[in-house]
């Protein structure tokens, strides 16, 4: 099992060869990454043992795949917590400055499900050389928090940064009637030239949109901490981003029929995710129903003492599709107060016997 867990951890600390990095910075980052992977590899047996003891009360044997999935959930959540957690003031200021000015922060490459570390190192590369050592120290300190309780994290931005950004862009070109920062040609070609929606954008384009939105937020006077938090949520790789397609066929839950229960996402079943989610539904000016997430109260097997941020959006797609499809029941006209609907996600058969070969 530890080998299986390692195979999910290690890729997040691989700096792809194609990344354009200063050799000194790459070497320093590789060292930090290797040390961290070694430390967490040593923690896996402890986490597995803790989980086996906890689940023994339910007569789950220590070799069960459910133990593995619970610890994997914990690992995936640590990866996401790491993306959301702010550093100290120096680190935050340097990160903001890099995000404001650099145009190369999104030039990530490799396996886009695991570009966590690479994205952070690209930001450090964009900092003045004199600030890099301090920023790398900041990275070490944040990595040292893995496995520990965290200070309260900022809530999910509402609306999601990508939704807010694309809504502003849909108003038209940047001009006197619609004052906003203009997009780079690359982003303009994606958003306007090809009219790609966020779900179909390349990860590099998504990153660029999030960076543009951060700049736009700062430009219009948003507090830097809030703008940075929105950027972090926007670029965070969740469990769905990393593993979603392994459990849920793309498009499978896009259009449930009216009155039909939303399908329980396969990834949520696999990781024993339960909870309540609340969405807001309102008709747009075009008459179409538009839903957005208001609240996510989620519990995940294996994640305790910290918010399960990696899984908090696991029901979003099914929930939004359900809310928008059932317009007759929940929708209100565009000029009225939006209707909120809440859905309880409960597993009827929490732990079906694992199929042979389920275990990695």
């Amino acid at each position: 099992m530890t080998g299986g867990l390692h195979s999910y951890l290690a890729p997040a600390f691989v700096l792809d060869k194609a990344l354009v990095l200063d050799p000194t910075l790459r070497a320093a980052a590789d060292k930090i990454g290797a040390e961290h992977v070694a430390r967490i590899d040593k923690l896996f047996p402890v986490w597995l043992s803790e989980e086996a003891s906890r689940q023994a009360v339910n007569k789950i044997p220590p070799t069960s795949p459910w133990i593995f999935y619970a610890v994997l959930a914990r690992l995936l959540n640590e990866l996401s917590l790491w993306q959301l957690e702010p550093g100290d003031a120096t680190y935050e200021n340097a990160t903001l400055a890099a995000l404001r000015t650099s145009t190369r922060l999104c030039e990530i490459s490799g396996d886009f499900r695991y570009t966590d570390f690479a994205s952070r190192i690209l930001r450090i590369q964009a900092m003045p050389v004199a600030q890099r050592d301090a920023a790398l120290d900041g990275e070490r300190r944040l990595l040292a928090h893995w496995g520990q309780p965290r200070a309260a994290l900022a809530p999910w931005p509402d609306p999601l940064p990508q939704d807010a950004a694309l809504a502003l862009l849909a108003r038209g070109p940047a001009d006197a009637a619609n004052p906003r920062l203009a997009l780079s040609p690359e982003l303009a070609s994606v958003v306007f030239g090809q009219q790609q929606d966020y779900a179909h954008m390349h990860p590099v384009s998504r990153c660029m949109l999030q960076q543009w939105w951060l700049r736009q937020n700062l430009h219009r006077g948003m507090a830097p901490a809030a703008a940075l938090s929105a950027f972090r949520y926007g670029t965070m790789l969740s469990a769905v981003d990393r593993l979603g397609t392994a459990y849920d066929k793309p498009g499978a839950d896009d259009k449930p029929g009216p009155g039909v229960k939303p399908p329980y996402p396969g990834i949520a079943m696999r990781f024993q995710v339960t909870g309540d989610t609340t969405a807001r539904v309102q008709a747009g000016v075009d008459g179409k129903q538009k839903a957005s997430m208001v609240e996510r109260r989620i519990e995940v097997e294996g994640i305790r003492g910290v918010r399960p941020v990696a899984f908090e959006n696991v029901f979003d797609k099914a929930m939004l599709a359900f809310a928008e499809t059932n317009t007759g029941r929940y929708a209100k006209p565009a000029d009225s107060t939006p209707q909120q609907i809440k859905y309880l996600w409960r597993l009827e058969d929490p732990k079906p016997a694992a199929k042979p070969g389920d275990k990695r």
């Binding site: 145009t103 203009a182 780079s184 690359e186 303009a188 070609s189 306007f192 660029m208």
Partner: protein, 368 residues
């Protein structure tokens, strides 16, 4: 008339990018100024960097590069202009092919106008905004024959070009310190049918700002072609004058380069039939260039092609021997593969028999 459409490679590492044809004016400059293989080498260093920097919105990089390149001599080993490589990168990004071109161009207008507002003392910022307006104009005109342009589109074409001209005029104190603005104004003027004397004045002013910007010499060829506003005699007078003005740097080289450019843009294989190009003078020009810039494999190919067109078999044989297997068909004019084959065959044949390259049809006397 129908301008040809160059095809630049997609940006390295950015497979999502589709490039669009350049506008006629930009095309004329690029085609005239860049021998292909040398351009390939310099693209790696300059064109691609400029292309990518603009693509990702890195104005600071572009401005720094432009400030370096806009003064002094910046030549590739074969004398091609590095400034032109840089401009080609900018043009390539602006001309990127997208499904919905109008909102893309409007966003580029907004972006470059924001840059110009934020950096009022940057000549590049103003030039970039005007470049986008020119690209917008050409999106209405298209690259086809004039008869293919919808009547309403002509109005928008002219409106955008006039906006670009007025913008540069309104920011002349900054923009016209940079000869890139003059090159652009010449393209605008050509599209708006400005008088040749006006274009000449723009060129003169541009050369005062940057005497080393040879693109200004190439940019004047287009309006003087018979298919635009000139004729062979006017073109010849211009090329001889330009050659004299650049003699200190290139000997008679500019004579060969400008006539080779005229062949690319209009005369093709009939250069010596339909223009007043004089082969001995052109040959001297090539020799002067090769003496000054010996690392010019593309020019050697172009020289050989011209020798073939001029029916100078001894020179062709000698040059083919020097070229060996390093034939670059791109330098051999239209239908280049067959052009190479025909010239090689003629070089090997004896006498002026049936293997001689056929003469190209001569233009009507009025063309001369």
């Amino acid at each position: 008339m129908k301008p040809t459409t160059p095809s630049f490679d997609a940006m390295a590492g950015r497979p999502r990018r589709h490039l669009f044809a350049l506008t006629l004016g930009a095309l004329a400059c690029v085609m005239l100024a860049l021998p292909a293989a040398a351009a390939d080498k310099a693209r790696a260093a300059l064109t691609v960097e400029a292309e990518q920097a603009l693509w990702r919105g890195d104005f600071d990089y572009l401005d720094r590069e432009n400030e370096i390149l806009k003064h002094g001599k910046h030549l590739a080993p074969d004398a091609a202009s590095e400034l032109e490589f840089f401009r080609a990168g900018l043009d390539s990004t602006i001309a990127t092919g997208v499904e919905r071109r109008e909102p893309y161009l409007r966003e580029l207008e907004a972006l470059t106008l924001q840059w110009a507002t934020e950096h009022p003392t940057s000549s590049l910022a103003h030039v970039l905004y005007a470049k986008v307006l020119v690209a917008h104009a050409w999106s209405y005109r298209g690259g086809g024959y004039a008869s293919d342009v919808p009547p309403e589109a002509w109005k928008d074409f002219r409106n955008y070009l006039e906006r670009a001209a007025k913008y540069l005029e309104g920011h002349a104190d900054v923009a016209l310190t940079d000869s890139s603005a003059h090159v652009l104004l010449m393209q605008i003027g050509n599209g708006l049918d400005w008088d040749v004397r006006q274009l000449d004045a723009i060129q003169r002013d541009g050369l005062k700002r940057n005497p080393d910007d040879v693109t200004l010499y190439f940019a004047m060829v287009t309006p003087l072609l018979p298919k635009w506003h000139g004729n062979a005699r006017i073109l010849d007078a211009y090329i001889r004058r330009a050659t004299e003005e650049t003699r200190a740097d290139y000997g008679m080289g500019m004579y060969a380069r400008l006539y080779a450019g005229a062949a690319d843009l209009e005369f093709g294989h009939a250069l010596f039939e339909n223009s007043l190009a004089d082969w001995p003078t052109m040959k001297k020009g090539y020799e002067d260039m090769m003496a000054r810039f010996p690392d010019s494999p593309d020019r050697l190919n172009g020289y050989a092609h011209m020798a073939c067109l001029a029916k100078d078999r001894p020179t062709l044989v000698k040059l083919l021997g020097q070229i060996g297997d390093k034939i670059n068909a791109a330098q051999w004019g239209p239908n280049s593969e067959r052009s190479v084959e025909g010239c090689q065959r003629w070089a090997k044949a004896t006498g002026d028999g049936p293997d001689a390259p056929p003469r190209s049809p001569r233009a009507t006397p009025s063309g001369i």
